[in-house]
């Protein structure tokens, strides 16, 4: 299924994917990243600063968008540029279903050196959680 630069045209849509995020995922991410801010795992602390419940780390959401691009490219080393703005929080309820982050993407440009530029969209519960989300990926 290897993608090739030659096969990609501007406007190419990347099939959307959904990624589930539960409290356990946030605890794992806290440990792996070293970000132990309590609003990402402790309901009481989250509420005490006015949040509706525990929220996902912004970088967890960005990591899911990165994973989406890497899965499409078939190589986590293919991403050369990646940027986002965090536009809304992702509340993660204390149940087995958690929240769902829906990601889609579209190739906007073909660049030199076998690179393509991609615009990404990420939504949770219908709300855009990332804006200005763009990646540049080098393809074979």
């Amino acid at each position: 299924m290897a993608l090739s630069y030659a096969d990609i045209e501007p406007g190419t849509e990347i099939p959307p994917k959904s990624y589930r995020v539960t409290r356990l995922d946030l605890v794992k991410y806290a440990g792996a990243s070293g970000d132990f801010n309590a609003i990402h795992w402790n309901e009481r602390m989250a509420r005490s600063v006015g949040l509706p419940t525990v929220i996902a780390h912004g970088m967890y959401t960005m990591a899911q968008a990165g994973r989406y691009v890497c899965e499409w490219a078939g190589d986590p080393g293919a991403v050369t540029e990646f940027g986002v703005r965090f536009s809304a929080m992702v509340p993660v309820p204390d149940d087995d279903r958690g929240a769902t982050i829906e990601i889609s993407g579209r190739v906007t440009n073909k660049l030199a050196d076998n690179k393509v530029a991609i615009d990404l969209t990420a939504r949770a519960d219908g709300t855009k959680v990332l804006t200005r989300a763009r990646a540049v990926v080098r393809l074979p």
Partner: protein, 147 residues
């Protein structure tokens, strides 16, 4: 009180290099759900042309954030970290980070902006090997809301 504008242009650097390990890359890949064998299997990574297993693109944040924290924690900056949210984040890679890399992060305060009661801090962090090879530049903005 707004953030201290005298910080603009200041450079922060940890004395301790960061060693990228295979175990840490796998932990991070597990945590974000990245299943690629290039993050897990050294042979597969080498067949793909990498020296060792590679880190997912947002892994560099683990390194850059430690360096950014040197800025945030400086009492003269006047940041109330309990009121901080992440604004923007970007990565610009010369090549992927891989297991065995020993890197140093250098953070420059690019600008500080105030919008009413809200302050924004923009930093750029350069991640290079101890031999001076550039790997990644990360840019972050954080937003501090004041009540």
């Amino acid at each position: 009180m707004a953030l201290n504008q005298e910080f603009v242009g200041r450079v922060f650097r940890s004395d301790e290099p960061y060693e990228v390990s295979r175990v840490k890359i796998v932990d991070f890949a597990d945590a974000i759900g990245e299943r690629s064998e290039l993050c897990r299997d050294r042979e597969a990574a080498q067949q793909a042309g990498y020296p060792d297993v590679i880190a997912p693109p947002t892994f560099a944040f683990v390194i850059s954030w430690r360096s950014d924290e040197l800025v945030h924690a400086d009492p003269d900056l006047g940041l109330d970290f309990s009121m901080v949210v992440h604004g923007d984040q970007s990565f610009s890679y010369s090549r992927p980070l891989h297991a065995g890399d020993v890197v140093v992060a250098t953070t420059t305060v690019e600008s500080i902006k105030a919008l009413g009661a809200t302050s924004m801090l923009f930093t750029a962090t350069d991640i290079s090997t101890v031999d001076g090879e550039h790997v990644c530049t990360t840019r972050s903005s954080i937003v501090e809301r004041r009540q």
